[in-house]
Amino acid sequence: MPIMSKDEAQALLKKVLSYSKADECEVNLSGTDSGNIRYARNSVSTSGRVSQHQLVVSSAFGKKLGIATINEFDDASLKKVVERAEELARLAPENPEYVPFLGPQTYAESKTYIAATAAITPKLRSDLVEQSIKVAKEAGAVAAGFLEDNTGFVAMMNSKGLFAYNTSTNTNFSVTVRTADGTGSGYATRGYNDITKLDTKTATQIATQKAVKSVKARAIEPGKYTVILEPAAVAVLLENIFFRLDARQADEGRSFLSKAGGGTRLGEKLVDERVNIYSDPLNPDLPTSTWNGDGRPQEKVSWIEKGVIKNLSYERYWAEKKGVKAVPGPDAAIMEGGTKSLEELIAGTKKGVLVTRLWYIRDVDPQSLLLTGLTRDGTFYIENGRIQYPIKNFRFNESPIIMLNNLEELGKVERTVSVESNQNYLLPPLKVRDFTFSSLSDAV
């Protein structure tokens, strides 16, 4: 039931629209079928399977809009949710920024659905976890991890004749391995649309090696260091740029992309010229939906090209007001990399710190995009091209913009997962000079 075919979704959406008395009505429908296994202390702790649906009705009278949602789809509930949206719309004051819903659009065929993932069995899930736990147990270590998979569909239809439908599959896996005495900890994470690409054994081996090697960490002085950030660490820093590409905020003077004296930094070189960041819904290694929540097509967009801010994202109202194309914000981001492996980046480093991942990232100052957070699960001191010894974790205070100006080298791109947002990205490991570590942490 949760995954409706295109025809079933279309039929349901038509029925909902038939109840509408509003000037305009738009209906978004989604459903997911998800399964997960959570484990800790080398044993499964919770496991579940959840099927959910949601229907969102947006009704407008003139420039007055109301929104209501429901997850019961019998006729009475569907009528109720439409009535509720209309009632809210009648009560709402006019929104002078209201933009009428879009008419029919053309979308590229998305690549987000992989049949093998949708066909996952409880046994496969359990086998993948068993392989992970086995690796940790054999090393005398303790694994805690999480495997989840989702099959979902989204559809929308409006009274202007727009219809869109998409299906997708995803799996995310992460594992933290700690030594039995709790003095060493390592981590690995993987994300795919296709579950057959997921190798929990190799990922857990990496996490286990990091755990074992990080025992007896030494304290070194906080300060500015050359760092090699693995892709999982790069993700949680750079996504703060990806999430803040909104043109209106920049135009209004309250974004890191605002300019003194007014205007934005669109077209300005803001970071190192080797930085190229774009989004592409049809990238085979990171496919995303070819349309967004308000029905606009998602296309390939360059955001930063040779260090220059190339595009900003727009709400439809703001784009209309500014007379520009209403480019929606990206669903995922891709950064171009280099040819070197992580090992080669380490080999070319005289003195530096290898960072496996960063944790608890928070905004400190939106003006400079200054972020704080800590290293976690594998932080090592590098000298003369080799890892010398594990070091205690640091708190950092750094802006991803300053960091991308202090770029030394980019490694080979890989798909990674942000532990903060759960988003997947294609990112290289980065070598950066003068990264600011401001204090030490005793945490393992």
């Binding site: 959910q52 409880p122 976890v129 003077g253 100052d365 400079s368 005793d442």
Partner: protein, 501 residues
């Protein structure tokens, strides 16, 4: 309906089962400047079933709330439990709980926010925005969140619990931009999300606290219009305020700020599941070990520090009659005169502390999520001697006063943290010496709580709230309050967070 689940579970070999049928209603109103951006009502209905079979937990949920749908979900939960039992080393052991029979608990609200006309709520938000714009705000966004959880719980232990829970959160962000310099500053609302009805939105004089810096702070009701006007004045002042000189300061921390520090450095580290390693892959573990607890001598803080957990405090976000596994809620001590004395634990883990009664702090964010240990309200008891915040400021030579929450970050074992705030004032020789910018303090949990030298009395006691506390995989949110009075911490390390890009 609930009995279909319980009977199916028992017939399928379950030694325990519970079922939660929930209807979750939300209303969310968002505005900016003089217009409404969105009015959204959401409703979600479904059932979650948890079983123990072969000594192992299994969970399944469905929105097909029919005899057939519930039966199928129960069978799925049983199948999951049985499949995972191969990993189980020791069978799940539940602390006993009395059979409460059929009971009812409702948040004691005065005015149901869902029954207040939308136009009245919209007017209030727009009036608050207008007050800020009039005082020179460049932009203002304001929001009102209203939550109603209607949930029914039944278990094979003989409880049938019906609860109706309400929460509310008005908030805003006022921004001032200075086009010439390209600088922008913002000031968030000094409201708190509360376990109250719409009565929180109707200001009462007895809930207002005046401060030496001219801003008003709020207790059990909130004056959104007044606070929005103050916010605009303060945001304007921030544009030209002094950037902090880094160094050691005595910190005077107001309850709506200190609540988040309590949350991160006391609330989370004392969760038994994370101490045991169940959260190791996400939220992390904890420096607070069972050994430290059992020693009976671990000095978490100074002698003044008394921190208690509770799920009963009126008006708090965590207040319910029974938790999501049917345990009656209560209050208990976590830190007594500075010494660590207890953790937070639920039915399947409390035995690991040698205790045989759950603390009653199990929660699931919705019917589709499995319930697990969540932080109760964790609060700092007020000082016993009469002492006001104004007096505290007078007694400080070189310090910083912080009100409201800001940026927050702490490591995965809860040692090293860094906090910002909503507004910062410099204290020089007992006087407020103007606003500061770019302030963040860094400390270590044990060092910080041992530097607590003064706590104001109960007249200053107020609740801070966190509406969206995240934990677990898949991540679930929970709402929790933290009470305290203004408190002073000596010699805390302050850094300057100003940068130019």
């Amino acid at each position: 309906m609930a009995d279909v689940a319980l009977n199916t579970a028992k017939a399928g070999g379950a030694t325990y089962a519970d079922v939660r049928i929930g209807r979750y209603l939300n209303q969310f109103i968002s505005t900016r400047e003089r217009r409404v951006q969105g009015i959204t009502n959401t409703e979600s209905f479904g059932v979650g079933i948890r079983v123990i079979a072969k000594g192992t937990w299994g969970f399944a949920a469905t929105n097909q709330v029919t005899a057939d749908g519930i039966k199928k979900a129960t069978e799925q939960a049983l199948a999951i439990a049985k499949a995972n039992s191969k990993f189980q080393k020791e069978p799940v052991k539940l602390a006993p709980v009395p059979a409460y029979g059929e009971v009812v608990w409702n948040t004691p609200i005065v005015k149901n926010a869902f029954e207040v006309p939308v136009s009245e709520k919209v007017d209030l938000l727009i009036n608050a925005n207008s007050a800020a714009l009039k005082e020179g705000a460049s932009f203002v966004n304001s929001n009102l969140f209203q939550v109603n959880e209607q949930k029914y719980f039944a278990s094979t232990d003989g409880s049938y619990i019906d609860q109706d829970i309400h929460r509310i959160w008005p908030t805003f962000t006022v921004s001032v931009t200075d086009r010439a310099s390209g600088k922008f500053k913002s000031r968030d609302a000094l409201s708190a999300p509360m376990g109250l009805g719409y009565e929180y939105m109707i200001p009462r004089a007895e809930d207002k606290l005046q401060t030496p810096m001219g801003m008003t702070l709020y207790r059990n009701s909130y004056d959104m219009i007044e606070d929005a006007a103050t916010a605009a004045r303060q945001a304007k002042e921030m544009i030209s305020a002094k950037s902090v000189e880094p160094g050691k300061y005595d910190m005077v921390l107001e309850p709506n700020h200190l609540g988040l520090t309590i949350h991160e450095s006391v609330g989370h580290p004392l969760e038994l599941d994370r101490i045991l390693g169940y959260e190791a892959n996400y939220a992390g573990t904890s420096f607070a070990s069972i050994e430290k607890l059992k020693s009976g001598t671990f000095n978490y803080g100074s002698k003044l520090v008394n921190i208690f957990a509770d799920k009963t405090q009126p008006g708090s976000l965590g207040a319910v009659g029974y938790d999501d596994e049917g345990v009656k809620c209560k209050r208990w001590d976590l830190i007594k005169e500075g010494v660590l004395v207890n953790f937070q634990a639920i039915r399947d883990q409390v035995h690991m502390l040698g205790q045989n009664e759950s603390h009653g702090c199990c929660y699931a964010q919705g019917w589709g999520d499995v319930q697990f240990q969540r932080m109760p309200n964790v609060s700092l008891a007020p000082g016993k001697e009469p002492y006001s915040a104004a007096q505290m400021i007078k007694d400080v030579e070189k310090g910083i006063y912080i009100a409201g929450r800001g940026s927050y970050s702490i490591d995965q074992q809860r040692y090293n943290f860094q906090f910002g705030g909503t507004v910062f004032y410099e204290i020089k020789n007992g006087q407020i010496a103007g606003m500061l910018n770019d302030v963040a303090y860094q400390s270590n949990t044990q060092e910080f709580w041992n530097s607590c030298v003064k706590i104001c009395d109960e007249k200053d006691y107020r609740l801070f709230g966190s509406f969206f506390d995240g934990k677990g995989q898949p991540s679930q949110v929970s709402a929790v309050s933290h009470g305290s009075s203004t408190a002073r911490f000596n010699g805390v390390n302050v850094i300057n967070t100003g940068r130019t890009i």
